[in-house]
Amino acid sequence: MLLRFLLRRALAAIPVVVGVTLITFLLMHSAAGSYVPGLSLNPNLTPKDVEQLRSELGLDQPIYVQYLDWIGVAWIMQKVGLAGVLVGAHGITPGLLQGSFGHSMVDGTAVGGQIFERLPNTILLTLSAILLGVLLSIPLGVMGALRRGSNLDHFFSFLSIAGVAIPQFWLGLMLILIFSVKFHDWGLPFLPSSGTTTPFTGGDLLDRLAHLVLPALVLSFFYLAIWSRYTRSSMLEVLSQDYVRTARAKGMSERRVTYLHGLRNAVIPLVTLVGLELPGLVSGALVVEAVFSWPGIGLLAFQRALAYDYTMVLGIVTFAAVLVVLGNLVSDLLYAAVDPRIRLQ
């Protein structure tokens, strides 16, 4: 049953991913026009050299050939002896179907290598933000529910609504201004504002945490706002359920009622909301990465897109799209696992 579901989803995902690569490919090439990347590394080139560079990068081929090349169809055709079918195909390298993202057009490094080197940084950031969001929204939501209608509750409500209205980059700048710049000016212990570690003297857990705090906080703000509201209403709903009233009637202490029945059942559905964020795990932190100079995937894609590094951008976007599809799948599974009323279709 589960296997069939997974299989069906996997099959449905393939045309989606292919479509993604196609769209991205066309966009990149339209945007770049006839520009040859990597020129800034060696501007002393005659037009003849530029043409040679273009040819070596394969940019003089018709678009469909370049695409087939990148996908890896050309590799297969070459193996089967049909290479000549593609106009001007030569020196064909393994493509996506063979598991290779190719090499950057700007500095020649392996795309896959760069992705996997920078990926952990982004994952660390987004997972920390999610964790922070969960850890903070549960107490906020519960307190709001337990003290419903109080000033505290209204204050939290306002914070939630405000929280989704703040521009991320602005929040980041403000936090840096306060916790990094002003704290230092006032002689207080301050937080670092860039990178993942302090060079040389850093690298230990405490140092890494210190660097992680501000960016993760900024990223988690949005989650916090939404999840705390959800937890609150979920908690309220659970607390008014029959079985809770029964537990109270049976003489269970208020505290036990809250924590044993209320909390557990209110929080579990939060899992589905967390699941909704999984697809955006890889790409969602771009703005924060830019503000804090966090060496992640988003920042890499941004910088390379501006440099028209076709292969790098294609590699990152494809990778991210696959993760989105996977993330959606996991999110659906979580949803089904949590709510037995949903049947996997």
Partner: protein, 307 residues
């Protein structure tokens, strides 16, 4: 992270939908409208947006009569002036008046906000209607395409398209809409599917009504509430996205003022003159806040699923 529909889980304390007196039968729209009017905070937010829109439209007039500055007028001697009598909210790195630029910036933020959402609704709504109504292979095809668009992380799509198009308010709206329409399409399709099999549709079809007529005159009105709700919640998200794009350097370029690009330049100078960062940021915040509050109020009043 770019809002793909996760922003809609709010309840405002005053808008709880329990225990209202039931009135005698009233049309859906007038009942909803009345409910909206009862929501004080929501109405205040709505009025805020309205006032802002009026200000934006009459920007040239205001610049002439109230602030006495053109948004692009430079005056290097007034560089970085803090707020004072001459420049009510101060001046930026080339001496341009911040207040005037904020007023003109509203044109961009609100303009792109509304236009992008409108485009999203038209395209997304259209696709959703068609997919839901015709079903089968049309549905499969359209929804696969929606899946593709939604699988590309929005921010990457924005970056690529911004490089492709010369960014002005119009193209920016198109770019932002080109990602959001997918969510609307899914939403509308879902609604259509649930409405499609109701009696009145089957009845109308049995008397020989054509497809177009059925879609436009019968399905659309029933799907409209969901569309309205999506619209109201989308404006805030679009304004944030537009500001972020400007900030990254991918959107509107100076000297045309937009709240986002005022922040990107202010970032360089914020150690020097922090208020350059505060004012545009506050404007974005307040506008998105108002849009969200009003959007929530609309949703509370109009969402048929909450009845």
């Amino acid at each position: 992270m770019i809002g793909q529909g996760a922003a809609g889980e709010f309840e405002l304390p005053e808008a709880a939908a329990e225990g209202r007196a039931r009135r005698p039968a009233q049309s859906f729209w007038s009942a909803s409208w009345e409910e909206l009017r009862e929501n004080r905070i929501g109405m205040v937010a709505g009025v805020f947006i309205l006032v802002l829109a009026v200000i934006a439209i009459s920007a040239p007039l205001l610049a002439q009569l109230v602030t006495h500055y053109q948004p692009t007028r430079q005056d290097l001697d007034s560089q970085f002036q803090p707020p004072d009598a001459r420049h009510l909210l101060g001046a930026d790195e080339t001496g341009r008046d911040t207040l005037t630029r904020l007023i003109y910036g509203a044109q961009i933020s609100l303009g792109v906000g509304f236009l992008a959402v409108a485009l999203q609704l038209v395209v997304g709504g259209g696709v959703g209607l068609l997919a839901g109504y015709y079903g089968r292979w049309v549905d499969e095809l359209l929804m696969r395409f929606v899946d593709m668009v939604l699988a590309i992380p929005a921010i990457f799509l924005f970056i690529l398209m911004s490089i492709l198009f010369r960014p002005n308010a119009l193209t920016l709206s198109v770019i932002i809409a080109s990602v959001g329409w997918g969510v609307v399409a899914r939403l509308v399709r879902g609604e259509v599917l649930s409405v499609k099999n109701r009696d009145f549709v089957l009845a109308t079809r049995s008397i020989g009504a054509g497809d177009a007529r059925l879609i436009l005159r019968h399905l659309l009105p029933n799907v409209l509430p969901v569309i309205v709700v999506a619209a109201s919640l989308g404006v805030g998200a679009v304004i944030l996205v537009e500001a972020a794009l400007d900030f990254l350097g991918l959107g509107i370029h100076p000297p045309t003022p937009s709240w986002g690009n005022m922040l990107s330049h202010a970032e360089t100078y914020y150690h020097h003159s922090p208020y350059l960062v505060i004012f545009p940021g506050v404007m974005i915040f307040l506008t998105v806040l108002a849009a969200n509050i009003f959007g929530n109020a609309v949703r509370d009043a109009f969402d048929p699923r909450l009845r």
